[in-house]
């Protein structure tokens, strides 16, 4: 269901440099509403850096990022979030000491213009807003199958549920684009399949464009329409999963040059065949 018309997220020639290190170079990405794109690549390929550049955590050194046709370079993350790009984090960053419900409610607040005064006066509009937020939060918790965990502190949730709570929280910001950074990390095979199924359902229900970073290439191929492969900050392949899988460059980057290695080539030094 690859969309046409104006892309919701577009990156053109994005470069990220930290001092002398180029973590990402010439990164191009066009994402349409309803698309599910997999961003894959070996460790340290620059996947998370790409996310950070897209969501405003870092300002790109070069290149442009546009959200729904608006240039967002140099905008703060919360502004980009308000324009409709939400994300999760590789190393789960929940509001640990708050309940699951509060975690989602905070995200529901995104874009709200109301200040402190209405809260102090307990105005009717404030009441209405609180009720609206609570209802929305309940909805997202239930979408991610977390309703029974509503009042549990985030830090007390099991790992898999923390990951799902992060997605619920990201959805609550009302995004057009959802960037998921290894949502299935640390899960076993069947949990992973269930999660990706859930992600696909969410995409259909909310008409989202989803960008997923995933380590497990086979897994992501099953659900995504399109894949993008990064290696050492460079996009080495892009396209339909089948084509990408057969791309010799991808095979080399991902699996090595076809020979069995016991350690990754970079750290291995010499000696190991």
């Amino acid at each position: 269901m690859s969309g046409t018309g104006q892309p919701v997220l577009e990156a053109r020639g994005v470069v990220m440099r930290f001092g002398g290190l180029t973590a990402l170079s010439g990164f191009d990405l066009t994402l349409h509403s309803g698309e599910l794109v997999g961003l894959i690549g070996p460790n340290g390929a620059g996947k998370t850096t790409a996310f950070n550049a897209l969501t405003g955590v870092y300002a790109p050194t070069e290149g442009d990022v546009e959200v729904a046709g608006r240039r967002v370079n140099g905008m703060r993350p919360h502004q980009i979030c308000e324009l409709g790009v939400a994300r999760t984090f590789q190393n789960v960053r929940l509001f640990k000491e708050l309940s699951a419900f509060d975690n989602v409610r905070i995200a529901c607040h995104a874009g709200s213009r109301s200040g402190f005064t209405s809260a102090w006066m307990l105005t009717p509009t404030h009441d209405a807003e609180e009720r609206r937020i609570a209802a929305r939060a309940e909805e997202f918790l239930s979408v991610m199958e977390l309703s029974p965990r509503r009042d549990e502190l985030a830090r007390n949730l099991p790992y898999g549920e923390q990951r799902r709570l992060e997605i619920a929280r990201a959805l609550a910001t009302g995004p057009k684009v959802l960037c998921l950074d290894e949502p299935a990390a640390g899960m076993n095979a069947s949990e992973k399949v269930a999660l990706l199924e859930l992600i696909r359902r969410v995409r259909d229900q909310f008409q989202l464009a989803i960008l997923v970073i995933e380590h497990d290439m086979r897994l992501v191929m099953g659900v995504s329409e399109r894949m993008l492969v990064l290696d050492h900050g460079v996009t080495i392949a892009q396209g339909a999963p089948e084509a990408v899988r057969q791309d010799p460059k991808v095979i080399e980057a991902y699996l090595g040059d076809g020979k069995l290695r016991l350690r990754p080539p970079r750290e291995a030094g010499t000696g190991v065949p």
Partner: protein
């Protein structure tokens, strides 16, 4: 009808507090009411600092400076308008009206100071923020000591004795209601999100800088209120009242009570004020005992008496009687 109910709910704490305070005011001996006002001032300071340090997780140790701004501004208003008599109104009433204006202006001035300090500094984190707030505190003190209108080092004396138990008590109610309603609102949750994880909060659409500045401004405004109330009790304002030591006293109250716990701040402020007042007799030992207490408490209960919880979460017997999540 519905509208009336909402308005009533909004102002109910004040309607209840006013007659109670009036009654208490009449029945207190003068020394007791002096201590009570001291407690009230410290409760306002502690709860307001808790908005920044406890809710938002930003560590400010320059609260006394905002207190000073509020105190001096209010003092200028009351001394400047003292001779002002509104025709047809008894002097006592017009005096109270002037005081109300003075308090409001004091809060406003303190919040402006909070804004000026907050905008540049709140980009910093942790220890750096702490040291910069301390620095600003010192700068404000140096400025006061060099300003002739403010009486330089000797300050301003002969202020009208406007503050009584009713004023101070209403100040406390206002502060506590503000903090409580804030904590239970979506705006307050934005502050908590900043405390928990600034990067994640920002990514979830929380304008972290904006909310931090707002929290800082509010906190400063109430510190200004506390300062204004205090100096109109002791009828004197000098720069020495607002040193680093005073800021630390407030920090200690917040930390002792538990960062983020409103009732914790109230209890700690009351206990500490009474303790310091009792130790007044052994003046030389006062601060020594205070600092030893501080060290021992930090070593034994580093997250304060109540942590981030409120008193009814800590005392189990109370909890059983209350429905969970019910607002006081």
């Amino acid at each position: 009808m519905e509208r009336a109910r909402l308005v009533l709910r909004s102002v109910a704490p004040f309607l209840v507090a006013l007659p109670v305070l009036w009654f208490v005011q009449g029945s207190l001996a003068s020394y007791t009411s002096f201590v009570a006002i001291n407690i009230a001032v410290n409760v306002i300071l502690a709860v307001s600092l808790n908005v920044v340090n406890g809710f938002t997780g930003q560590f400010s140790i320059g609260h006394a400076a905002f207190m000073a701004v509020g105190a001096y501004t209010a003092a200028l208003v009351t001394t400047g308008l003292e001779s002002l008599a509104i025709p047809g109104v008894p002097a006592a009433v017009s005096g109270q009206a002037v005081f109300l204006v003075a308090l409001a202006v004091g809060m406003l001035a303190a919040s402006v100071a909070g804004l000026v300090v907050g905008i540049p500094t709140l980009r910093l984190r942790g220890d750096y923020l702490a040291i910069v707030t301390l620095g600003f505190g010192e700068i404000i003190r140096v400025i006061i000591e060099n300003t002739r209108v403010l009486g330089q080092a000797t300050g301003i004396s002969g202020l009208p004795a406007c503050t009584n138990v009713v004023w101070a008590g209403m100040g406390v109610v206002l502060t506590v209601v503000m903090a409580r309603r804030l904590l239970q609102s979506t705006q307050g949750r934005a502050l908590l999100a900043i405390r928990e994880d600034e990067v994640a909060a920002e990514a979830m659409g929380v304008d972290t800088v904006g909310w931090k500045v707002r929290a800082f401004v509010i906190s400063a405004a109430f510190a200004g209120l506390a300062g204004a109330l205090l100096v109109h009790k002791i009828q004197l304002v000098t720069p020495r009242m607002f040193t680093f030591v005073k800021s630390m006293e407030v920090v200690v109250m917040v930390v002792l009570g538990g960062m983020g716990s409103i009732t914790g701040s109230i209890v700690a402020a009351a206990v500490l004020t009474i303790a310091l007042e009792t130790l007044q007799a052994a003046d030389q030992y006062r601060m020594v005992i205070f600092s030893m207490l501080l060290i021992v408490l930090m070593l034994t209960r580093p997250s304060g008496l109540f942590g981030t919880r409120e008193i009814w979460d800590v005392l189990p017997r109370w909890r059983r009687r209350r429905a969970p999540g019910e607002a006081p």
